[in-house]
């Protein structure tokens, strides 16, 4: 009995973790890599560091925080 329950709990925790990662933007680089592999396979891929710097620059050059 305990095994399926444990497995279910682990699955749910995993789903929760994925939602948290998506909401916070923690998985942004993984998503970019997946997108890159699917549609721009031949082009150069940004490193994690380059991608994060680029994302920050884009995010903070427009109005994205309010009164």
């Amino acid at each position: 009995m305990s095994r399926p329950f444990g497995a279910r709990a682990r699955r749910r925790l995993g789903a929760l973790w994925r939602v948290l990662c998506a909401v916070s933007g923690d998985d942004a680089y993984e998503r970019y890599r997946a997108h890159h592999a699917a549609t721009h396979a031949g082009e150069p891929l940004m490193s994690r560091r380059e991608f994060c710097a680029d994302a920050e620059r884009r995010k903070w050059s427009g109005v994205n925080r309010c009164c």
Binding site: R58, W60, G62, N64
Partner: protein
């Protein structure tokens, strides 16, 4: 059948709750009535009005490919699950505005502000956000200014740019003032806030050097550090030597904030701005959720009357009668023009399906409005005497506690110096008199709610947690606003001399940042030296500016609806636009021509000048009077400017509509052509 049943339940619930509020006029009312009425009306608005607008007015087409799909680059254009877009959008629009505005408007009683928050959001604010979001989504995520230029003409676009820049200046000044008043002579609050700066830098370094992009880890570290800082601040407050090192008057704190914002604007974003934003977003979402749970658990009674005597315009927090000033004071939470900038920024580039604009646009604003309702509850559950003692400047009630309690009790809101003293002690503060700006009284209200929900013995910790939460929140808006304002200023300066327009040229960055910080720093400085608290002048100015921006957004929306042959539905945006035009213009008119020095800028300047000339001012007040006189006149000029921009855009929209109705040629629509969506639902990011 179930949907109809739920609608009937919602309508009944909303009706009963509103009836409860209406009938219990002369006895304390429970906050749950207000919560129930608000939630039912938001849900009804979402279920019926928003759905009708989406299908009939905006012609939302779920089969149409959005820019996130068409221009998908895996980065800023990215089809994203609607729940996640909702989270991003809500985090972006929810700022300190809905916390401060309702707190100030509570001087009229709980009823006027509450009704405006609920009705204004359901029929105005949510509609504006959803409409602008869809219009921008249809135009590849173009900004409000670009849409104004494309659809109305260069005049509308230029007015939108100038209006936005001015609102950023007034907003930064007033928010700076709110935190100065929360931190002055409070070593606990000052040391806690100071500690958030190295905490943010540490998180910045962590996310840049050690674990790039690991936002969750960084945020957990940062939030733990700032919570530790709140507790450590309490310890520091009991160490006489350390305590003195963080005990400052208002002026040095204001200077520190100005210098801090200037440094934050020129430093690379990853070092301070971005990590601070992660901290404030987590704190914001967590605290708002905690507050909602605590209000439902403790369901406090509101002690403020439904309507106070100050609806006649004699209010101590700010001058001006109920109409139009309650509608100016509460902008964010009911309708906020600033949201139109966010709804035409990052969000439309993430929308995977047009149908999502209802949840993201209308839904996020309804939630923001709910935050404003909670702020109203936190302000009105305090004893009214305590509320006025905290929020009224020494220039109005008198500088000593005895004078203040006598004046306030004389208004019919009894309060004693001893009551204020023991309240200050219970939250770990030296005094709570004349802590204007709304943040301290909100923190006392939140501490009271959290205290009765989760442990009363922690009153001082809850209070300083609430202060830290508000200040971190405001500093993020200040940092981000200064940075965006700098870009806009550089954009404008580029027309004067091209190199000044280069955002990466360091001399230009320094010049534009200094100019912008000096502009809002000036208003902050005058607010700090004003014995009446300064917020009474700056907040209405900010309200007028924000409503002006909302009117620009609604003009763009109305213009587009009429241009595209949907004139019969134009009332959806035209009605809130007309209301805002009436409210903003009459507020501006009163601020300029009112002969009452308590309300009118020019009357106040004239009154002060007369008293200065007659030698009727104390030496202290006479020293700052010339600056205050100049500032009131400058505020009058700004008010005229805001109103002029408002009417220029409305008339420009009117011109476009008349041309359309007469069949004259118009600028062609900037809407991207239709393309069938190929997106399979479950392939979205975040699923």
């Amino acid at each position: 059948m179930m949907r109809r049943l739920s609608a009937v339940v919602l309508a009944l619930g909303g009706g009963i709750a509103l009836g409860g509020i209406a009938l219990q006029r002369h006895e304390p009312i429970n906050a749950l009535w207000i919560i129930t009425a608000a939630v039912c009306i938001y849900l009804l608005g979402y279920r019926f009005y928003a759905a009708w607008i989406a299908t009939r007015v905006l012609l939302v087409d779920p089969s149409r490919a959005t820019p996130a799909e068409r221009l998908n680059n895996g980065r800023d254009f990215l089809p994203t699950h609607r729940a996640i877009v909702f989270g991003h959008h809500f985090a972006a629009i929810a700022g300190p505005g809905p916390l401060v505005g309702p707190t100030l408007a509570a001087q009229f009683g709980y009823l006027p502000g509450t009704l405006w928050i609920i009705i204004g959001a359901a029929l105005g604010g949510c509609v504006q956000d959803m409409t602008i979001l869809l219009l921008s989504t249809r135009r590849d995520g173009r900004s409000l200014g670009q849409m104004a230029r494309d659809e109305l003409g260069p005049l509308g676009g230029f007015a939108a740019l100038i209006g936005t820049l001015l609102i950023l200046i007034v907003l930064s000044a007033v928010l700076g003032l709110v935190i100065v008043n929360a931190m002055k002579h409070s070593p606990w609050a000052t040391s806690t806030v100071a500690a958030t700066i190295p905490a943010a830098i540490l998180v910045g370094l962590y996310l840049r050097l050690w674990r790039p992009g690991r936002v969750l880890e960084g945020s957990v570290i940062g939030v733990s550090l700032v919570l530790l800082a709140v507790v450590a601040g309490g310890w520091l407050d009991h160490q006489p030597q350390l305590r003195n090192a963080f005990d400052y008057a208002a002026l040095p704190i204001a200077a520190a904030i100005v210098i801090y914002a200037w440094v934050a604007a020129i430093l690379p974003v990853w070092l301070l701005l971005a990590p601070r934003d992660y901290l404030s977003t987590f704190l914001k979402l967590g605290t708002v959720a905690l507050l909602a749970v605590a209000i439902v658990l403790t369901h406090p009674q509101l002690k403020m009357p439904a309507v106070t005597r100050f609806i006649d315009g004699s209010g101590p927090l700010f001058g001006g009668a109920l109409f139009p000033f309650v509608f100016i004071t509460i902008a964010c939470g009911a309708i906020s023009g600033f949201h139109a900038l966010v709804a035409s920024g990052t969000t439309p580039k993430l929308i995977s399906n047009e149908a999502d604009v209802r949840l993201v646009g209308y839904g996020s604003m309804a939630l923001e409005s709910f935050v404003a309702i909670m702020a109203m509850i936190a302000a009105t559950l305090l004893d009214p005497g305590v509320y006025f003692a905290i929020n009224t400047g020494a220039g109005i009630v008198g500088a000593t506690p005895e004078a203040a309690v006598q004046t306030i009790s004389g208004w019919g809101f009894p309060v004693t110096a001893q009551q204020m003293q023991s309240l200050a002690q219970s939250v770990g503060e030296h005094t709570l008199f004349a802590r204007t700006g709304g943040a301290p009284s909100l923190a006392v209200g939140m501490a009271s709610i959290f205290g009765s929900g989760f442990g009363r013995s922690l009153g001082a910790i809850w209070y300083h947690f609430a202060i830290m939460f508000e200040v971190v929140f405001i500093l993020t808006t200040l940092d981000a606003g200064t940075r965006v304002g700098r870009f806009m200023l550089q954009d404008l300066l580029g027309h004067v001399w091209v190199p000044l327009g280069r955002t990466s040229w360091y001399p230009s960055v320094l010049f534009a940042s200094t100019l912008l910080v000096a502009a809002w720093g000036y208003f902050l400085y005058v607010g700090v030296i004003d014995p009446n608290g300064g917020v009474n002048i700056l907040w209405p100015l900010f309200g007028i500016a924000n409503q002006m921006l909302a009117a620009i957004a609604l003009s763009v929306a109305t213009g587009i609806l009429i241009k595209s042959g949907r004139a019969r539905y134009a009332l959806v945006t035209l009605a809130p636009l007309a209301w805002l035009a009436i409210v903003t213009t009459s507020a501006a008119w009163q601020k300029i021509v009112s002969p009452d020095p308590h309300t009118g800028f020019l009357a106040a300047a004239g009154d002060l000048a007369t008293r200065l000339a007659a030698g009727a001012l104390s030496a202290e007040r006479a020293a700052v009077a010339p600056q205050l006189i100049f500032n009131q006149r400058l505020d009058a000029v700004l008010t005229v400017l805001f109103t002029a921009i408002l009417w220029i855009v409305i008339l420009d929209m009117g011109r476009v509509c008349v041309r359309r109705l007469r069949g004259l040629p118009l600028r062609s629509s900037s809407e991207a052509p239709y393309r069938q969506s190929q997106l399979p639902g479950p392939a979205l990011a975040g699923q």
